[in-house]
């Protein structure tokens, strides 16, 4: 009888969680659409929201009159690819952060913070500066293949090194992970500096762009290169949610619950490397999205990965679209590198996280 009496309260508990998820998805989607319209209308040429909507519907329906206009040209060839890139990269970075935090069982893990992004940036820099010397004409013909692939390998190598150093006997030490991340970041930074030393003027400008992070180089070609890498990760990530939840109890516990732990860890590492590598290849190093976004989602919706992963993707897209809007408009007609903005917001947030740490962080 007690079981029958308790059942409704359990059902109520889980129903309220589902309701909050639905509200979150609805709210975030609406926010993203509003932000997108504002973002598409802002810039050197101001375009009213009504006109933005007309161009977008004209684009979808193939209305020739609307598409021939100047506004359509600006929106469709400059601003839409930039918006799409911001959404993809924001989602990729936030999801990578959530994945790494689940994998390391610690809310402080972040691809930017622990050297994964620096590793990817080093490899990207390597292809920029030495690419044509080593790979010859192949590099000149396929810059959009070599660069993302290099960044992916760099990200993968850093993640694997990090995991190998920080994990002993199935236990991952957070202190070791953060310290190893510092060392990895410094090492990658030193080598990137060395690359800057041997590069010519044009290469140096490209390198600076990569280390600061910017969406200003957005184009449909970049969108076409990054989408096939990031989109599969975003679509596949929900399938890891159940396993990541179990993994939070411990590796042995996850195994006891029927989770193929090694396969899960490999999949998560691979996804982080692909997502971060593609992001770095397209926009350079953009820090702190991976730590700020999942943390906010956990505060609002709890740590269940089935909620955390999709909502992190949405909020990551919102955050980076918003940050890019600021970066483009704050010092117009000039433009701030977006990496500077996210670091300026994210670093204080991270310090605040450390200040209010409780038993959740000392592991």
């Amino acid at each position: 009888m007690t079981i029958a009496a308790e059942a409704p309260s359990i059902a109520g508990l889980f129903a309220s969680r589902r309701r909050r998820l639905a509200i979150g998805v609805g709210l975030f989607s609406a926010l993203l659409v509003m932000l997108a319209v504002v973002s598409l209308g802002s810039g050197a040429v101001k375009i009213a929201p009504g006109q933005v909507m007309r161009v977008m519907t004209g684009w979808v329906t193939g209305d020739g009159d609307v598409l021939a206009g100047r506004d359509a040209l600006i929106i469709l060839s400059i601003r839409v690819p930039r918006l799409v890139l911001a959404c993809l990269i924001g989602a990729a970075l936030a999801v990578s952060g959530a994945l790494m935090q689940g994998l390391f069982r610690n809310p402080l893990a972040d691809p930017g913070l622990v050297g994964v992004s620096s590793g990817a940036a080093l490899a990207a820099g390597f292809t920029i500066v030495l690419g044509d010397r080593i790979f010859g004409t192949v590099a000149a013909q396929m810059p959009f293949v070599l660069l993302p692939f290099g960044a992916f390998l760099g990200g993968l190598a850093s993640t694997l090194i990090l995991y190998a150093v920080a994990t002993r006997h199935g236990r991952t030490s957070v202190a070791i992970m953060l310290l190893a991340g510092v060392a990895l970041g410094a090492f990658a930074g030193a080598l990137t500096g060395l690359l800057a030393f041997v590069s010519d003027d044009r290469q140096l400008r490209d390198l600076t762009f990569w280390s600061l992070g910017s969406l200003s180089g957005a184009s449909w070609t970049k969108v076409a290169t990054v989408t096939p890498l990031i989109l599969p990760v975003l679509l596949a990530v929900p399938f890891l949610a159940r396993g990541l939840n179990a993994l939070l109890l411990g590796e042995a516990e996850a195994y006891h619950l029927g989770i193929p732990v090694q396969a899960l860890k490999r999949a998560a590492i691979l996804m982080v490397a692909v997502a971060v590598g593609a992001s770095v290849a397209a926009a350079g190093v953009i820090g702190f999205v991976g730590i700020v976004v999942p943390h906010l989602i956990r505060l609002l919706f709890g740590p269940d990965h089935r909620v955390l992963l999709p909502l992190s993707a949405l909020l990551g897209a919102i955050l980076l679209t918003g940050a890019d809007l600021l970066a483009r408009t704050m010092v117009a007609p000039a433009e701030l590198p977006i990496g500077i903005l996210t670091a300026a917001i994210g670093a204080p947030f991270f310090l605040w996280l450390l200040l209010r740490r409780d038993r959740t962080l000392d592991a």
């Binding site: 939840n245 939070l248 109890l249 029927g258 732990v261 709890g302 269940d304």
Partner: protein
């Protein structure tokens, strides 16, 4: 009674160090087997071998006739549940969520109402229904231990829909519990045993062990020291030999079971003082 879990001369070696060496045992469905022994005797390692978490370097383990190493993790999860020693969480899951994670894999095919009924039943069995909405991290060590018990309890109940031949492993499940919850938890485990689940528990409290065990396995130095009925295995001589203390006495009113009390130490001191 049929044999559910069978270990044949299993052992594990790290170089020359052998935490478990040539242990053989078999456990029947519905039986409560309690493993006791001093610190470092290899109890937890033995449990890790029997749960499949650790592969034995020598010997074989069979669960329901099948080689343990040949059973995939997802299938094994419906046949056995494991409550490990105290575990912490880095993220603020609620109690109900922690228990739900226990059946997310095993019970994925079950209807939602069924899953919710299993979770509610497990919360009741561990006496934590009133904590369901609390964050796991804010609980005391004993309460966290009860949540972990509820999680394994739910896993068995969910797994029962696909396998009736189940084993429950408990590694020092009552270490942080108050007296009434120690007894309540062991009673819940015994209740599962009455439905056919084989229960294998590592305990430190010899009195609790003799109370709830059908058989007791005494481990010492990585090997099997004795295995048998509580009254036959826990004796003044064996406790003195394995644990190095002379605290075990015959007692009245316990149905012939021995009683191990630290108070007997005071008694020994008095005798020594008089002599």
């Amino acid at each position: 009674m049929t044999t559910l879990l069978e270990a044949d001369r299993i052992g594990v070696a790290y170089g020359r160090h052998k935490p478990v060496d040539a242990v053989s045992l078999s456990v029947d469905a519905g039986e409560v087997l309690v493993v006791v022994g001093p610190n470092g005797a290899g109890k937890t390692t033995l449990l890790k071998l029997l749960t499949g978490e650790l592969a034995p370097s020598t010997g074989t383990i069979r669960l329901d006739g099948e080689l343990l190493s040949a059973i995939p993790a997802w299938k094994l999860a419906s046949q056995r549940a494991v409550m490990a020693q105290a575990s912490r969480l880095a993220f603020p899951f609620t109690v109900a969520e922690v228990v739900r994670i226990g059946i997310d894999s095993v019970g994925r095919a079950l209807a939602r109402t069924m899953r919710e009924r299993i979770i509610a039943g497990a919360l009741d069995a561990a006496d934590i229904a009133h904590l369901a909405a609390r964050s796991y991290q804010t609980l005391s060590g004993g309460e966290q231990q009860r949540v972990q018990f509820a999680r394994t309890f739910a896993q068995l109940k969910a797994g029962r829909t696909s396998s009736l031949r189940q084993v429950l492993f408990l590694d020092e499940p009552v270490a942080n519990l108050d007296l009434s919850h120690q007894i309540a938890l062991m009673e819940s485990a015994a209740g599962l045993a009455r439905t056919g689940v084989a229960v294998i528990a590592v305990l430190h409290d010899l009195n609790l062990a003799t109370t709830f065990a059908d058989r007791i396995l005494v481990m010492s130095g990585g090997g099997l020291h004795a295995l048998g009925a509580p009254g036959a295995v826990i004796t003044r001589a064996s406790v003195r030999e394995v644990f190095g203390v002379d605290l075990c006495r015959e007692a009245d009113g316990t149905g012939g079971l021995p009683v191990v009390l630290p108070q007997h130490y005071a008694e020994m001191r008095l005798e020594r003082g008089a002599a």
